[in-house]
Amino acid sequence: MSTNRVRVVVTGLGTTTPLGGDVASTWAALLDGRSGIRTLTEDWVDTVPAKFAGIAAVDPGEVLPRPEARRLDRYEQFALIAARQAWQDAGAPEVEPTRLGVVVGSGIGGINTILQAYDTYRDKGWNRLSPYTVPMLMPNGAAGWISIDLGAQAGTHAAVSACATGAESIGQAIEMIRSGRADVVVAGGSEAAIHPLNMASFAAMRAMSTRNDEPHRASRPFDKGRDGFVLGEGAGIVVLESEAHAKARGARIYAVAAGVGITSDGHHISAPEPSGIGGKTAMLTAIADAGISAADVRHVNAHATSTPVGDEIEARAIREALPGSPLVTSTKSMTGHLLGGAGGIESVFTILALSERIVPATANLDDPADGLDVDIVRGEPRKLPDGQLAAINNSFGFGGHNVAVAFTTA
């Protein structure tokens, strides 16, 4: 490991998820093994095969003032709420505007706005559209609004890599600080895609669980009975900071954002490459980038979405890449799959697992699939040992994106 490279640390966390409106309530629910998935009651539910989802536990309209909420798409609302939480959690750092950056993306962007605006345009005409329609639908809108809120001038970016977006954003933020472009970067992902068109489109891929009689048991990563993913919504944002900057201001440090590995399958637009080499190489690259050994990794927050194909390929990649018998979990069993928000919230969970030395159990894992050969936490949360540890958050996305972010104890 290069000894003179800038170390990047995590000083703030923010989330709004199907389990809670903030980090504390979400984390408590995860450790309790509660499900954030519920039956949908909207009138369109009869038109789609999957009739449940992970709706945000706290509606963003209850958090944001109405004049602000009305000019933001729902995915931007989640992002801004989580970013403000993370910023406050970090102690609202004093930082030169030109040294503060933002990297926050979304897998899909402002799709609710797009669809509602199209109805308005078609039924009432162009001049009835909100003048905020474009800023609400654009996938960099959340990053832009956060940069305005915080006065960030070191550069604002929006990664778009489907379900790897949140993790890729954090990876880019690490690089942004290392390269000297910023001292502090607000990074993560957000999604608000619970709309009948998305539910129908994912159903057209045969990707969603249709366990309509037991919604809270539908997201069951690694279980033999899994039949697809469950859509969730929300955002996860972290504040990353150069270690020197964090220490100079006496900030609490949750963990070190030690390394990132990014690969692409170059294989299929949605199906994972069967050998899992892309995910495995992403993990090994993150480990090398972090300057640690593979055996140091004692926990993995897996991407594992509860689809029949993906979970087993990832388990094999973990087994091949990580000889240290890491405790593996998929928190999607409780939150559902937040798409572009997944890597954001799951990085937050990985960081908390390290800092609190406890790994939430994978819910609904009643009958593990054959031949997994990794230590998946089930039933009850399990403790991590004392001493220096590393953990990895995996996030993979349609398009063949594989991102692994390695964190180490502070």
Binding site: P67, E68, N127, R128, S130, Y132
Partner: protein, 79 residues
């Protein structure tokens, strides 16, 4: 019957509050939307469309840019 100046002012105050969060009591005739109330061009479009709905007076885009103050809008709607 045409709305009175007071009725239009009250209606505008409500619209501005709904769109921007500025208290309706701050929306007084002499105020400039941009300089005094800090309302940007996108929000002005929203306010103009809402005012059209409320008072039935269409404000063309080429007129909107001349309506600097609350009083200008009231006059436009009354005429």
């Amino acid at each position: 019957m045409a709305a009175t100046e007071q009725e239009i002012l009250a209606g505008l105050g409500k619209i501005v509050n709904e769109i921007t969060g500025i208290p309706a009591s701050e929306v007084t005739p002499e105020k400039s939307f941009v300089d005094d109330l800090d309302i940007d061009s996108l929000s002005m479009v929203e306010i103009a469309v809402a005012a059209q709905d409320e008072f039935g007076a269409e404000i063309p885009d080429d007129q909107l840019k001349h309506l600097k103050t609350v009083k200008d809008v009231i006059n436009f709607i009354q005429n």
